[in-house]
Symmetry: C2
Subunit: 276 residues, 2 copies
């Protein structure tokens, strides 16, 4: 949290839906966006919408992911459709039906989101970025989806594109460490977390991406077992990263200086050659 | 969504807790982080923890926000403590008690998060950025909180610091527009969204920040009513922004050129003065 301004916000969370059931009522453009968001989570999706209400993208997703999406070619029947559902999303043009579904969902204690009716929602969607295990969400708390998209593009530009891969490597290393030093919480949990934190502080993303199974084991042998964080160099990992790390800084910081030196040299050469 | 890799992820959402009740069981460092996250949302917080289990930060938050936090100086009693709760967060060292609380919460259909026990959680927390109405969450899907923090700092650097204010202005303008052209969804909703999108595309964040009540009304008069997006210049809004907008680009793109020109001039001057 960058500032301590408490109040007026949402709780941004990563909801877990693996093996759960999500009901989407409606089949238009918003429904296709919802399906895409839910497919990310490994939930099973049920879409209720008359076939003539499906837009091309929704139709295509239902066909391409037939093993993960069940489509009922009909309108919403009522609470009987909630049976076994863990989340309900409405994507309907009819605001009154949408509101009624929200009330029923809340009575059944099933989390619900109704497109375009923020005051009926248990939660909002936002603009999202995904790169493997890395997910980023930008929420404007209902102040404009367009602004969320603008900021998403800004954030995307700030990422190098290797963050997801680096995180995956850290995740794999952590799993290997847990095999060596098992146990949940307590002293061992704290020592593991401390060591992983020190490693992430000392190594660049580029260093982490270069880790493979063999260097991971070496890193645990030489690092974890001796309670230290070896440098990528001592570990014998390929050192492309330090080159990548230096050049961009040169580019911006020394550009005017390089220009100046080149300018002085050129002018000197020209004038000297004319004097002769 | 940058890539269509479906599966293996979470559903990142902005959970709404205004006027809701959140139970936090435990009082240590994690509890203090949870309290800070929930204070953002305008929920009422109940903390259950023996007073000797409170760390200084938790104690301080309970004292400073006494009107928003109820503290019970005791251990968790059982499901009776769930009465009226909308969300449950455990922050305990005891993994077995934490797991048991998760099972009870799930049976009561109340969303639950247990610190350090990802497989018992309905949702995960992530690294967060907040700037007024703008909230950003970075999740590594359990692959390392440290990595999430590193990426959060990267994202923070990419933001100029005026995004939150620009979003607030857009939100205010949208509210004013809704007064002029009321109605939920349908044709009017679509026209409103289209016009707001065009505006956000045409105006820079700096332009948006400069909007005040008067220029907003002028913008709606000249823009919305005529179905067009006036430029900030025609609207007579102060034009600092275009200056701010140009110079940073100059700084990076023309730095070597400027250096070169300065170098040529200096060398020429020195050599010419020596010739005399």
């Amino acid at each position: 949290m960058s500032k301590e301004d408490f109040g007026g916000g949402s709780l941004l969370i990563a909801w877990q839906l693996k093996g759960k059931n999500v009901l989407i009522i409606g089949g238009g453009e918003v429904a296709s966006q919802r399906i895409a968001s839910i497919l990310v989570t490994d939930a099973h999706i049920t879409v209720i919408s008359p076939i003539e209400g499906l837009n091309p993208r929704t139709k295509q997703l239902i066909e391409s992911y037939a093993h993960r999406i069940t489509h009922y070619n009909r309108v919403f029947f009522g609470t009987a459709d909630f049976e076994g559902m863990d989340m309900i999303l409405t994507a309907l043009d009819d605001v009154e039906i949408s509101r009624a579904i929200c009330q029923m969902s809340r009575a059944a204690k099933i989390p619900v989101n109704a497109a375009d009716i923020p005051d009926s929602c248990d939660f909002y969607f936002g603009s999202q970025i995904r790169d493997g295990p890395l997910q980023i969400m930008i929420s404007t708390n209902g102040n404009g989806p367009k602004m969320a998209n603008l900021i998403r593009r800004k954030v995307e530009k700030a990422l190098t594109g290797i963050e997801g891969e680096a995180i995956a490597k850290v995740g794999e290393l952590r799993e290997r460490l847990k095999v060596r030093a098992p146990g949940v919480g307590g002293a061992i949990g704290k020592r593991r977390m401390k060591w992983m934190t020190n490693l992430c502080n000392a190594w660049t993303l580029e260093d982490l991406v270069l880790l493979d199974g063999e260097t991971m084991e070496k890193l645990l042998d030489e690092g974890w077992e001796n309670d230290c964080v070896p440098s990528p160099a001592t570990l014998g990992s390929r050192q492309q990263s330090s080159i990548n790390g230096i050049f961009p800084r040169w580019g911006t910081a020394y550009a005017p200086t390089i220009g100046l030196v080149v300018g002085v040299l050129c002018a000197t050469l020209v004038i000297i050659s004319k004097r002769r």
